[in-house]
Amino acid sequence: MKFSIRSIFISLIVSIMIVLLLQIFLQFDLVTSSAGSFVLNINANSTESANAVTSVVTYFRGFDTLGEVTILFLSIFGISLGLEGYRDKFNIFAYENSLLKIAVDTLFPLIVLFGVYIIIHGHLSPGGGFQGGVIIASAFLLMFLAKSNDFSLKHNILELAESLSGAGFILLGVLSILIINRFLGNFLPLGKIGELFSGGVIPLIYIFVSIKVSAEITSLVEYFIRIKDVK
């Protein structure tokens, strides 16, 4: 690795800029009363969800989460426009390990089960739809790495799951407009805090989000690991 005069000069300028910015940022004080303390006050009565972060993501800012899922969908759509289709593509990298090839059949259901556990306990413990969806996608990544070209995704099931979960998310919002006159509001019985069936509409939203995220990240992994004309 060689250092040119240009890179040393740029590093020096960036360092001076950062040190000047630091002097401003180190003087910030913490605000004691914020929107967060208000949310914590009303969370126990309005959602009955044990995890306040989950209730902010899916209930107080549920519309924002819909936009976030849309951005994820649009980026995957753009990637699939640019790269070619999934036919006649081969892995660019795989582990040629027979032990892993046998063990992955046992590991795959366990990782998926762990992801499902993270998803359905999203309103009780740390975790939720996005995290559990990525865990399920990591199980598919392990299958791609271990089984190389023997493993193929069923694309019609993947597309069906992805589109149905997105439609279900919007259907929940429209239903709550019809019933209680608020988009993505809570029209189900709230239950008791700390139980699995509590939080009203929050676990349902997270289940839809998790199906969408896991399908999208799985197809993303396939787009990046399989390329044409490589064998």
Binding site: L30, G36, L40, N41, A50, I71, G194
Partner: protein, 128 residues
């Protein structure tokens, strides 16, 4: 001695300086590297520093996570702010989406031109 280090202003200073060092690493990577792939990964490093700063500055010593569990029975002001954590959750997902879209653009550009270096781009026909 360790108790004097476990104070909120000291930890905020450590988090600020640490996240700015990561920001510096990412900025230097963006400005000095010529490989498109490395430039985009440097953007990902800059994002990480922002996540660390945003979450870390809303942490205070003695506060619990905003989750009711067996130890903590009710929601109280003695919990950390849940809103920055929820916003960073949103930001991480959007960061993944944008980074993967950018990387796919780079792959397509490499397939079309067989070039991945910024200083050798000449698609608009400028004089060399």
């Amino acid at each position: 001695m360790l108790n004097s280090l476990n104070q909120t202003p000291f930890l905020h200073g450590v988090i600020t300086i640490g996240s700015f060092i990561i920001l510096m690493i990412g900025l230097i990577g963006v400005l000095t590297k010529r490989n498109l792939f490395k430039i985009f990964l440097s953007f990902a490093i800059i994002e990480t520093s922002l996540f660390l700063y945003f979450i870390g500055m809303h942490f205070e010593v003695g506060k619990t996570s905003p989750i009711v569990s067996s130890g903590v029975k009710t929601f109280s002001p003695n919990m950390t702010d849940p809103i920055p954590q929820a916003m960073i959750l949103t930001t991480i997902v959007i960061g993944i989406a944008v980074l993967s879209l950018g990387l796919s653009f780079i792959i397509n550009y490499f397939k079309l031109t067989n070039n991945m270096r910024v200083d050798e781009m000449n698609e608009l026909g400028e004089a060399k």
